[in-house]
C-alpha cells in the first residue's frame, strides 16, 4: 500500500449510529464501522437481505447515516448498477455507490447479477462480508462455507465440499481492483476500500468476517479468530490492482516465515468439531503448497 492508515489518522467521524442490532462480537460490526469511514459520507449503499439488514435497524429507525437502498437477495450488482446509471442520467457526479452483501448474497444467489455488472464494468464498489454461512437465517451452509464446517444444513459430518473462491471468480472478469481483507485487520480494510474509491469501474472487496454465534467461539475472540485465519495462512490478504497480484499487509509479512498450523484455527471453533485429522492434514498440505507458490 502506498499510504497506510493508522489508528492516529483514521477519520474520527462515525457514519454508524451508536447501538445496532448486531450480535455481540459481530465481525461485520467492525467492518461496517470502518468501511463506511473509508467510503465517506458521499456514498449510497445497496444492501440485500443479510445480517447487515438487521444491523441497520427496523423501520422507521436506522443505524446508518448514509442513504441505503435495501434490495432483493439476488440483485445487489444490478441494483448498484441502477443507482449509478440514475446518477449519471441526472448528472450527479462524485457520489460513490457501494454494494454491501454477505457471502450467500454474493457467492450463491447474487453471483449472476454481480458477474453481469463486473463484465459491463459498472462504476461501483462491491463489498462482500464473508461470515461463511447464511448467518442471518441461522447458520446454513453457503458456497463459501469451508470444508469440514458444521452448519444447520451440514449438521453431522460438516460441509463436504471446498469453499468457493469468489475473489478469484471476480478477478476472472478482469476488473480493475480485487482485494481481500479481514475484520481482524480493520486498517488494512480501510486502506483497501479507500483505494477502491479512487479506481474507476467495478471494484471488489472480499472481507473475511468471523461470526461468534455461527462459528462457535466466545464473542471476545472475534479479532483473535480472524487473525488466526491469516496467521495460519488459510486466508490470504492480497490485492489485484489492474491485473497485478500482490500479497498485502499482514499476509505479506508472513512470506518466508513459518506459518502457524491450521489445526490451531480449526480447534478454536466448535463448527469444526466433526473435522477429521485427515482433512486437517489435507488442508495443511494445500496451505503449504499455496505458500510455497507465493515464495517462489
Amino acid at each position: 500500500m502506498s499510504e497506510k492508515t493508522s489508528i492516529l489518522n483514521l477519520p474520527e467521524e462515525e457514519l454508524v449510529h451508536s447501538g445496532s442490532r448486531a450480535c455481540s462480537g459481530c465481525g461485520l460490526g467492525i467492518i461496517y464501522r470502518i468501511g463506511l469511514k473509508a467510503l465517506g459520507k458521499n456514498t449510497i449503499l445497496v444492501v440485500p437481505p443479510s445480517c447487515l439488514t438487521v444491523l441497520q435497524g427496523l423501520y422507521p429507525i436506522a443505524s446508518t447515516k448514509l442513504p441505503c437502498l435495501n434490495v432483493t437477495f439476488a440483485s445487489t450488482g444490478a441494483a448498484a448498477t441502477g443507482v449509478k446509471a440514475a446518477l449519471n442520467a441526472l448528472n450527479k457526479k462524485g457520489i460513490t455507490v457501494a454494494g454491501w452483501a454477505g457471502d450467500g448474497g454474493t457467492s450463491d444467489i447474487g453471483l449472476q447479477s454481480l458477474s453481469g455488472a463486473c463484465e459491463r464494468g459498472e462504476e461501483f464498489i462491491y463489498i462482500c462480508y464473508d461470515n461463511e454461512a447464511y448467518m442471518n437465517t441461522g447458520v446454513q451452509r453457503s458456497g463459501t462455507t469451508p470444508q469440514g464446517a458444521v452448519t444447520t444444513t451440514t449438521p453431522i459430518k460438516g460441509k463436504l465440499q471446498q469453499k468457493k473462491d469468489v475473489p478469484a471468480i471476480i478477478a476472472g472478469h478482469g476488473i480493475n481492483y480485487v482485494a481481500t481483507c479481514s475484520a481482524a485487520y480493520p486498517l488494512d480494510l480501510y486502506d483497501k476500500i479507500k483505494k477502491a474509491t479512487t479506481i474507476p469501474a467495478t471494484k471488489y472487496i472480499h472481507a473475511h468476517t468471523p461470526c461468534p454465534s455461527g462459528w462457535g467461539f466466545d464473542p471476545k475472540y472475534t479479532v483473535k479468530i480472524g487473525r488466526l485465519a491469516i496467521e495460519t495462512g488459510l486466508y490470504v490478504l492480497y490485492e489485484i490492482e489492474y491485473s497485478k497480484w500482490r500479497l498485502t499487509g499482514p499476509s505479506e509479512k508472513l512470506l518466508n516465515k513459518k506459518l502457524r498450523p491450521v489445526r490451531d484455527y480449526f480447534e478454536a471453533q466448535t463448527r469444526f468439531k466433526s473435522i477429521t485429522s485427515s482433512l486437517i492434514s489435507q488442508v495443511q498440505k494445500q496451505v503449504d503448497e499455496k505458500w510455497a507458490g507465493f515464495a517462489s
Binding site: 440483485s75 440514475a86 447479477s113
Partner: protein, 397 residues
Amino acid sequence: MHIIETGNVAAATGVKLARAQVVAAYPITPQTPLTEKLSEFVESGKMEAQYIPVESEHSALSVCIAAASTGARAFTATSSNGLLYMSEQVHWAAGARLPIVMCVANRAVGAPWNIWNDQQDSISQRDAGWIQMYASDHQHIIDKVIQAFYLAEKMKIPVMVCYDGYLLSHTYMPFEIPDEAMVDSFLPPFSPDYALDPGDPQNLNTVTLPDVRENIHGDLAPGYMEIRRSLHEDMRCAIVELGEIDKKYYEIFGRGGSPYVEAYKCDDASFIAVCLGSLSYHLRDVVDALRVEGIKMGVSGIQIYRPFPDQALVDVLKSAKGVIVLEKAISYGNQGALFADVKAALYPVKERPFVHNYILGLGGREIKTIDLYNALKDSCTASEAKVDTPRWIGLKL
C-alpha cells in the same frame, strides 16, 4: 407524423418521446426488437438515456428499481418467462412505490416452450400491485406508453403496458407519432418526493414490522399492513386519475375518450363480448357479421385491467342480456381470471346479464373469425343455459 411500423417500434418510440432516463432490458422473443430499437436510439444519440444491457430480466427490473429510487425515469420490457423470472422484482417495484413503466409483449409461458401469443404471462402478475394497461393496436401502444409514465409518476405505482406478441409486436400498422414538444407539454420531467441522496440519507425498503412503530421523534410510522392498504387505495384512485389523464391527452393530441373500456356498438347491444388486447378489434368484424343476421352484438375491449374498471364496465354491460368473456389466459382449476372479475363487477346489478366464458388462442393457436362467430352466436342463442365453466375455442383434439 404518421408512419407504418411494428408495435415494438411504436413502444420504443413512445419510450423515447417520454424521455426515459434509464433503460435496462434483456432480450426475449417477441419483445426483442423493442430492446434493439431502444439501444439504437441511445447509441445513435437520438435518445439521451443510460442503456444497461443486463444479464437477466431479474436484473433488468432491479436496475430500474434502483434507478427510480435514485430519481430517474426508468423503463424495461419483457415477455413470458422473462416476466416470470423478474416476478420477485415486479412485486418489489410496486411495494417500493416506484413509477417504473414496463412493456410486456404478451407471450405464452413454458413448459412446454412456446414463443407465440397468449396473455398468461401478464395475467399471472395480476396481483403484484402494478397497474396493467392493454393495447389493441399500435396507436394504443405508443399513446399508452406515454400516458403510463404520467400515471405511474402521479400515483407512485408502476405500470405495465401489455400488447399481444406478434399480433401487435411484429405486425406493421399505420399510427401517428405524437409531436415531441407536445409530449413534453403533456409529460413533465420526473420529480420524485424523495430519492437516494447523501445530502438527505434515508434507509429505503428496510425491514418493517407487522405493527406500527414510533420513529425517533415519537411519531407513529405505518406498519406493513398500513403500507399495503395505501397501495390498494391509491390503485383505486388511479382509475379516477386515468380519466383525467385521458382528458388531458385528448385535449393535446385529439385521441382518447375511452380510458377504461373501448366499446364498439355496445349502446344498443343485447349481447356484448369482453376481452383484453387486440382480440377486441378482431371481434369487430364478428360483431358486424352477427348484426347483419339481426343479432345485436357489441364488443368491449378493456383498456386497464388493474385497477379493474368495474364501474365503467358495468355501465357498458348492465343493459345487455348476455356477456361473453373471451380470454387468452386461464386461472387453472377455476375459470378465466377476467371472467371472474366481470362476474364480480356485475353482481350488484339487479337484473344482471348471463356471463359466458371462452378460452382461446393459448400458445398462439390460431383464432379463426368463423370460430369466434360460431361461439358468439351459440352463446347468444343459448342464452338461458347456465354455463359457468369455461368453454374452449379452437381445440382440435
